[in-house]
Subunit: 462 residues, 2 copies
Amino acid sequence: MAQKPSIPKGTRDFSPAEVAKRNHIIQNIKKHFETFGFMPIETPSFENSDTLMGKYGEEGDRLIFKILNSGDFISKVDDVTYSSKNSTSLTPKISEKALRYDLTVPFARYVVMHQNEIDFPFKRYQIQPVWRADRPQKGRFREFYQCDADVVGANSLLQEAEFVQLYDAVFTDLGLKGATIKINNRKILSGIAEVIGAKHLLVDFTVALDKLDKIGEDKVKAEMMEKGISESAIAKAQPLFEMSGSASEQLEQLKTLLANSEVGMLGVAELEDIISTVDMIGLQSAQLQLDVTLARGLNYYTGAIFEVAAPEGVNMGSIGGGGRYDDLTGIFGLKDVSGVGISFGLDRIYLVLEELGLFPDSLDTSLDVLCLNFGKQEGLAALKLVSSLRKLGLRADLYPMDAKMQKQFKYADKRGVPYVVLLGEQELAGGNFVAKNMKTGDQKAYGLDAFAQFAEAVKSDF
Amino acid sequence: MAQKPSIPKGTRDFSPAEVAKRNHIIQNIKKHFETFGFMPIETPSFENSDTLMGKYGEEGDRLIFKILNSGDFISKVDDVTYSSKNSTSLTPKISEKALRYDLTVPFARYVVMHQNEIDFPFKRYQIQPVWRADRPQKGRFREFYQCDADVVGANSLLQEAEFVQLYDAVFTDLGLKGATIKINNRKILSGIAEVIGAKHLLVDFTVALDKLDKIGEDKVKAEMMEKGISESAIAKAQPLFEMSGSASEQLEQLKTLLANSEVGMLGVAELEDIISTVDMIGLQSAQLQLDVTLARGLNYYTGAIFEVAAPEGVNMGSIGGGGRYDDLTGIFGLKDVSGVGISFGLDRIYLVLEELGLFPDSLDTSLDVLCLNFGKQEGLAALKLVSSLRKLGLRADLYPMDAKMQKQFKYADKRGVPYVVLLGEQELAGGNFVAKNMKTGDQKAYGLDAFAQFAEAVKSDF
């Protein structure tokens, strides 16, 4: 019996219409990556396990897809390990490779391996799929694309200002107006923990603070106390909960709050620099917003952190994020190479554009001209015409069989073809063809040699 | 100690220059796929194992990369299987998913799963990586891209003629003139085996015949005899070894040889139809060549088969291939859906273009304009200029630090930037910037507001 086909949980097939929409976003991101001077690299889908393992925390290690060794892999397992029948100890013996979990660790590995060919500062972008053995749910997949741009070997804050510009350029071009680019700095978070006397509880403090949007001030404070942050420390942090006004106003408040923290004041100075640079150049449609509660991947980032929110009224998590990490390549032995990068969330941007109706109609058309098929002789003449139209760049096709006209028109309809060409016995005898505009119903005859004229008419209609 | 990074055998990192060259080929193929009316789909990188296993023969099954189940996978293995310590019987218990081996089986699975959304005839293209646990060697990788176009649900021979046109369009556009598109028909091979009385030894007969190019007539005959094909049968097949002349001359010889084989004569008729259609429309730079020794994936194809050879003088295996398979989707329960498709060999086409120096020089440039950095104030003015140039579509960048001029020029040199912009204290005071053409050494001053004029000059130079 034949198999009833299915695909693995958390993976997707993409139809032509979906690919067109995804490519619309990807092409847009790619174009702006390139105008901003980023260069594409690609890395293998799987890496040696020891490149990936231990880089994403314990939970991350569990979510990495491991590839089974080829051949008689079991015979290479020693008897002690085998008899333990323990998945954790068996895995490294039967699997040496794993699917990449993100594009950042492979990039760090790339930079170190190719350091002698690279001219620093190195601006690379990478748009490739990644895999995570996560529980699938709405908007979370086991295979998804990441679109990353990073700079390594440049610690000037100009990079941060440029990434804000880059977000603005992409979202403006996609028609997604009103995106909010939230910015914070990890040094500010460290500074706050320091001045309130909770330096040793930095992670707990920040994890709680990060929830302010969702659970409100009281619950955040309750969580902090639960984690052992004293009431008086929380009282010292009170200004955080009352932070308001423009970025520069908030920065002034932070300066008061952080006056006694060197690292905190450094964070304030960095943000001031970035924000004033962005102000000077200006944004097209996005807004930059200082958000001191933004925590994002605390253990990873060391300077500015970003997160992008969809325009107000769209219920969607962040559609982009990133930040600066002072020692990207250290894990692979290349020390003191600062990195800063951002990522675009393709799947979420897709959902937002869909919700707001921002995909251009033109993406729906996969064929400009369909020639109907009236039989052997007429079909050959039509094929010649189709071939000429294709050379002029049109997407043209001949219906492959001389099926009933009704069936052929129905096919044209379903593919949303704007122009149908009729080239029957009569037209062939007269040396011409008839083009029918499927939207208006208008018909026009062209000489068989006048295909270029027809092609122009089709193109000018788009 | 830091890890010394490496990547798995048979996989590759691609540098910016390599990605640009690969994309040049991919964009070309994609463009022509689309003008020919093919629509893109994408399928997941991994499939359920039972979708893939048993579809590529025993050797193929071995070469499929299997993914280890997540979590405590070992606990789900029954004791009998576990105690056997046998890789073959253990694999299906600890692995349910596998990386795709080609794009054809996933496509068949796609068609069956989505048959109710698809309008037939369905012309799809797919450009995605595939994985094989093969022994890596020159030009053979464990991760590589396939570029496939297939039509399902159309059994007219027009498709075959169109695929020849498609090969011609792509290779002509890539500047790869003189490619030879070899064509044969599986029915002809069946017919020959039939008339010489070796129908039951069809596979052995064809496998031997396929080697004619490489090992010569005598060795082919020796191999046939070894496989049990009688001397008299081989003598009957003698005309095959003497086949010469144009396609139509060879077809005449085949008609004599195959007069008593119904299937053989059907194959001849199909080839005649395809060849005459191609003749009528004409090819731009490739040639179509009938090659009765072409066997290619015998068990798979049922009608026309194709293989493309690089231009004479280039030592390279086939750079493309394909054919018709009468029952593509039968394995997944959808019967009688004819398919025909071709594939482009990205890696080999890359090597051929490289060998013949056919990559355009423009691919080497990843940046149009680099602004040098003269310090904080000048840098901000330069950033504004860069931002304006980017909005006009130029790939522009500001060197991120005010490093020594020599260092900045060296970086410009290494990135092959055609224009360097100088915007120092003096220029800033004068409200202008100086653009230096790095090829000619010419310099020209522009007012800071005249950036559009400069952008035009840069664009017109390309």
